[in-house]
């Protein structure tokens, strides 16, 4: 695919797959009305067929008018029949590229390419659907163009860092919040039934919705992390996962804004933790059928501490070693968090720990700090404490150096400002987090 090429169309089966998802949803909804049978007449069936045809026709029109190509350093996508829109996505601002394959697309050998953009043109570009091999080629070429090099003919093999065994995944889901919800509900139902047996039916029907919610969360987590493989390649970090809908995500080197490790209470006895990586980009609310479109990507949904440490060493090689605790008077202000609070830094990276039940550790490379804030609330002023916030472009990791001594915090603010400036001026080239 030569950059000065002609326009490309998406795969002809794309409208069918897009419509297919709508149909499955509609079929589930209409299944209820079809079953009783007495009200479904010929006209009802014809209406549904007409609606189906109209949906497919719309899809075909949309497919016909959509085209894309790479122009220089931009990806350009034109779409729309009545209101034409021409979108331009500058490739150097790519934050991550996903190759998403919902189950319908997998059946036909297709894949969707999603680019997550950062900077002022935050948003996402979607090319749905291309053949799977074409999608891989396009992905490699876009990443190479983003870095400003020629696409390589044969890539160096990727180095697998972590593979998630299914048994551990199931174990972690069992010990997660959906199970807790279900247990609490079961307890509530049991006690309510014991008190008044006649109310059982009412209680059961109202808790049905909660049960469905818990099952959805369970399924989504299972699908999102099944067979997860994290590999390091020349163009960044590659994360592949999925049971029915598979996702292959590439986070280019230098786009990691922050890293977070979460150790929930239920996993502490087993020594498990979760490592998440934050990427810049606008928050996007996907539909129910979309795989999770968070900016926070769990590169290790559940793993032991050693695995997390080794993965962290590949992503952020200069993590600081030592941390200091806050002064003991911080116990008055944050009694539940106090035992988890700490922070540390070196010239390239800052780490903070916080959390009430779960312990949350956040690493922020100093090159990625957008702004710093020193905040002192009234309780903190009485206790001569202050908090420093390190703002990053990611949405989910909030690195906060909480409840330090006020004068120490002021000094550290000055020092961190100087360090951030030096880090921005001289970025290192090691590790996935540093460009």
């Amino acid at each position: 695919m030569d950059p000065a090429a002609t326009w490309h169309r998406l795969h002809p089966l794309s409208p069918v797959i897009r419509a297919g998802r709508v149909f499955i949803g509609a079929a589930l909804v209409f299944a209820g009305t079809l079953l009783p049978g007495s009200n479904s007449t010929h006209s009802g069936a014809i209406t549904r067929v007409v609606i189906g045809v109209v949906v497919i026709a719309f899809g075909m029109v949309s497919w016909l008018v959509t085209r894309w190509r790479v122009e220089g350093k931009d990806l350009r996508i034109e779409t729309g029949l009545i209101r034409r829109s021409s979108l331009r996505f500058p490739l150097p601002q790519i934050q991550a590229i996903d190759v998403v394959r919902p189950v319908l697309a997998r059946m036909f050998g297709l894949a969707e390419l999603r680019l997550r953009m950062g900077g002022a043109t935050a948003g996402s570009a979607r090319l749905a659907y291309l053949t799977a091999s074409h999608a891989d080629t396009v992905r490699a070429q876009l990443l190479a163009l983003a870095r400003g090099v020629q696409p390589e003919a044969d890539e160096s093999p990727e180095r697998v860092l972590v593979r998630l065994p299914t048994g551990r995944l199931i174990g972690s889901l069992v010990l997660g919040s959906p199970t807790v919800t279900v247990l609490v509900m079961a307890g509530a139902i049991a006690s309510a039934t014991a008190l008044s047996p006649r109310a059982t039916v009412g209680i059961l029907s109202s808790t049905f919705a909660i049960a469905i919610g818990a099952i959805t969360v369970f399924w989504r987590r299972l699908n999102g992390a099944y067979n997860l493989t994290v590999a390091e390649a020349h163009d960044g970090l590659r994360v592949r996962s999925g049971l029915l809908d598979t996702t292959a995500e590439t986070i280019p080197s230098g786009r990691v804004q922050a890293v977070r490790m979460v150790e929930p209470l239920l996993w502490r006895p087993l020594g498990w933790c979760r490592l998440e990586v934050d990427v810049a980009g606008r928050q996007h609310r996907g539909g129910e059928n979309n795989p999770e479109r968070r900016q926070l990507r769990a590169v290790l949904p559940v793993g032991s501490h050693q695995e997390a440490e080794s993965l962290l060493a590949r992503i952020l090689p200069d993590a600081p070693r030592e941390r200091t605790r806050p002064p003991s008077r911080a116990l008055w202000k944050a009694p539940l968090r106090y035992h988890n609070l700490s922070w540390g830094h070196n010239e390239r990276c800052a780490v903070t720990t916080t959390g009430r039940l779960a312990r949350i550790t956040s690493w922020v490379p100093l090159t990625k700090v957008q702004s710093l804030r020193l905040v002192q609330g009234p309780a903190q002023r009485a206790l001569r404490l202050a908090t420093i916030y390190l703002d990053t472009a990611g949405h989910s990791v909030h690195a906060a150096i909480r409840d330090r001594d006020a004068s120490e915090a002021r000094e550290q603010l000055g020092e961190l400002t100087v360090l951030c400036r030096a880090a921005r001026a001289a970025p290192s080239s090691k590790g996935v987090a540093n460009a």
Partner: protein, 171 residues
């Protein structure tokens, strides 16, 4: 947090304040709302008296006194807030200090500013003031400076935009 706030020992920092018209504007706002509330109470009671409904003058007076007192207290707090707002243009970054109960100090490097907004609502425009808002790639950067004279707001915006472009660091 209330001292001159020298965060770097070497430089002497010059803290600039919003225009004094901001204090007047806040006072007008607070007393405007208070006056409106008192007027409503008076009108309700007057209408009640005229219509012959039983009106408890005692509670009306108490209500008016309460509203006036609240107005005075809020005005005091608003004035303190205005005087606590300050900003300092250093060599590589901008410092913004604000807040009375929760005092905040933001440090925004020029190279990190994505864009700068100058906004003026109708009341601000009546006093020839404007608010300058700095945006970075982080959603939680919240630095803004209200009540700047319009010439000062324009100067600050142009200065920041020029410095931001010169030192832009990649995302």
């Amino acid at each position: 947090m209330r001292d001159t706030g020298t965060t770097s020992a070497e430089q002497e920092e010059v803290w600039l304040r919003p225009s004094p018209r901001l204090g007047i504007m806040r006072r007008v706002e607070v007393f405007g709302v208070t006056g409106l509330a008192v007027a409503i109470v008076l009108m309700v009671n007057a209408v009640g008296l005229l219509a012959g409904a039983p009106v408890n003058l005692g509670t009306a007076v108490l209500l008016i006194v309460g509203i006036a007192l609240a107005g005075f207290l809020i005005d005091r707090w608003a004035q303190r807030r205005v005087s606590a707002w300050a900003y300092c243009e250093r060599e590589d970054d901008l410092l913004v200090r604000r807040g009375v109960l929760v005092s905040r100090l933001s440090v925004i490097p020029y190279g990190r500013m994505q864009f700068i907004d100058v906004v003026a609502g109708p009341i601000e425009r009546a006093f020839s003031l404007a608010t300058v808002r700095m945006h970075t790639a982080a959603a939680s950067s919240d630095a803004r400076i209200p009540g700047l004279a319009q010439t000062e707001a324009a100067r600050l915006r142009d200065h920041l935009a020029q410095l931001g472009e010169a030192r832009a660091a990649g995302l």
